[in-house]
């Protein structure tokens, strides 16, 4: 790769159940926050990439009305209709091309605007699954959870542990939506059963929110910040629509995405080399499966791995110190939030949820996903301090 790309700033707004503004104003606010954090004006930005989904917005061409509020007026602007981490990938490709130096990426959605859970059912084959009406994102996740638990002997208690860990972390994150003080396994196991084994606290909360990050080429990044966070590797993978072509209990698609990201970043032993991970886990069992796909433990050992406490905020490899998607999940922004949170950890700017038991947090992994049962996955490897060697 001819160039190096850094993330120089990020911004989040407080996630809410029902935000008291238009989505355009939300975009305006998150971009303003980004400009403030980066100490630049919109004139310094070459290009804007948004992550939006027209079925979440209730508008075709949903970027048409956010050109102005995002600062993209008379700029090179485009939209990735996927999770925000894919928009970050597009920005990364643009900067690497040498045609753009500074790119702003934002993702947003408002669950208080769209009919919850319906947009995902519109991704289904209209002549079969959509007509049948049995598949939605929660029922499909439940089938995945059941299959995973059966195959590897994972318990509901282990699923609950993910929720407890993440929601406990969330209490220290000023942006998080779902914060439950003194949460324990019992609280999770007593929460409302949706589709067995998935309970309310095993599933993401409906969220209004937006997140933005600013990416820049090496020379621009060095001008803008003394703490750039470098993109060392990225990998992405799209899996089959059909359930038999994916092994639900093992997210092979994420494994492939991680493999290419690790290869690019030169990571051989993720457990030893990575200091922090932010996962896009829509449901708590996903986090356990993702541990395995990322190679933090062997297949089927996700439950044992969380039992060791390794992924707690003071563990050997903290996962989701921000609280993860279980604490706030504005669809299309969630993957970007993961990147932003890893950046904050590496820059030592996470505040109360900063990882403190490590000498330094230098290498982080951020993950984004799209589709039912994580049909599309993307993995970023980010690195602080020293410049990347490539």
């Amino acid at each position: 790769m001819a160039r190096k790309v850094a993330i120089v700033a990020c911004s989040q707004l407080i996630y809410e159940k029902k935000r008291n503004s238009s989505r355009e104003m939300m975009v305006y606010e998150v971009i303003n926050e980004l400009l403030k954090n980066a100490g630049i004006s919109k004139a310094d930005i070459d290009s804007f990439i948004s992550a939006q989904n027209d079925y979440l917005e209730g508008r075709t061409i949903s970027n048409m009305r956010t050109v102005g509020p995002s600062g993209a007026y008379l700029k090179d602007e485009s939209k990735v209709e996927m999770d925000g981490a894919f928009a970050a990938l597009y920005a990364y490709l643009r900067i690497l091309s040498g045609t753009h130096d500074v790119v702003a990426v934002y993702g947003e959605s408002m669950a208080s605007c769209y009919p919850p859970y319906l947009p995902m059912t519109w991704t289904l084959d209209p002549s079969f699954d959509r007509q049948n009406g049995f598949v939605n994102e929660i029922s499909a996740a439940a089938l995945q959870a059941c299959s995973y638990m059966y195959k590897y002997g994972i318990t509901e208690k282990q699923l609950a542990k993910v929720s407890v860990k993440n929601l406990e972390n969330a209490t220290k994150n000023p942006y998080a939506l779902r914060k439950i003080n003194n949460i324990d396994i019992e609280t999770v196991l007593k929460s409302r059963l949706l589709y067995s084994p998935i309970r309310a606290l095993n599933a993401y909360p409906l969220t209004d929110g937006a997140c933005a990050i600013l990416m820049a080429s090496e020379d621009k990044a060095m001008e803008m910040t003394d703490k750039p966070v470098w993109i060392e590797g990225v990998g992405t993978c799209h899996d089959s629509y059909y359930m038999e072509n994916r092994i639900l209990a093992d997210c092979d698609c994420l494994q492939l995405a991680a493999k290419s990201a690790y290869k690019m970043a030169g990571i051989k032993d993720p457990l030893k080399e990575i200091d922090v991970i932010e996962l896009h886990e829509n449901f708590s069992h996903e986090e356990l499966i993702f541990y395995e796909s990322l190679g933090l433990c062997s297949k089927g050992k996700g439950g044992e791995f969380i039992d060791t406490g390794a992924t707690l905020i003071n563990g050997i490899l903290p996962v989701n110190p921000s609280g993860g998607a279980l604490s706030a999940n504005p669809v299309c922004a969630t993957g970007l939030i993961r990147i932003a949170e890893v950046v904050m950890q590496i820059k030592h700017e996470a505040g109360e949820h900063q990882i403190t038991n490590k000498k330094e947090v230098n290498i982080g992994l951020a993950h984004g996903q799209n589709g039912i049962c994580a049909q599309q996955n993307i993995v970023f490897i980010l690195k602080g301090a020293r410049k990347c060697e490539m």
Binding site: S22, M25, P69, Y73, C113, P126, R130
Partner: protein, 161 residues
């Protein structure tokens, strides 16, 4: 349900847009209050001085949030303006297709820039022959008899004599 259409089958469904609840800032509130008094008001951007009629809430030129709550930023605007562009609607565009209008039912729509503003608005133009409408012509607002504080209080525009 699958249905047969000639040789091939299809299934139907819909996008329940009626279930969406879009949120917007209430930038028309003060504007329609003005209309009730037969006054056109616009909002000025504190960043670049652009004047918006109809109003809006974010100035995309300079990325400034307009101060809807600040009375000083709202200013009285002339009822006169210049036609930037226009069309004569010969057909009604209905969800099912096009429906031709009778000659006397044709409507002239114009994009007008009111004097002193930086925006345009779409209005209906009356009291002139189709062949007399021109880009650049001067037009002015005609009010309904009893304005009630709605966008329809400006009934239409007519040429300035």
């Amino acid at each position: 349900m699958m249905k047969q259409e000639g040789e091939y089958s299809s299934v139907s469904g819909e996008w329940p847009l009626s279930a969406y609840k879009w949120k917007t800032e209430r930038f028309f509130d003060k504007y329609v209050e003005g209309l009730k008094r037969k006054q056109i008001t616009g909002i000025r951007c504190t960043g670049c001085g652009s004047i918006f009629v109809p109003p809006t809430v974010i100035c995309c030129r300079c990325l400034t949030r307009l101060r809807l709550e600040n009375d000083d930023d709202w200013i009285r605007i002339s009822e006169r303006g210049t036609v930037l562009s226009y069309t004569i609607s010969y057909m009604e565009i209905l969800p099912g297709g096009l429906k031709e209008r009778k000659k006397e039912d044709r409507i002239i729509y114009a994009l007008v820039q009111l004097d002193g503003t930086d925006t345009h608005m779409l209005v209906e133009l009356r009291n002139l022959f189709e062949e007399d409408v021109k880009v650049g012509m001067r037009i002015c607002a005609v009010w309904v008899d009893e304005p009630k504080g709605a966008l329809s209080d400006i009934s239409h525009f007519i040429p300035v004599k």
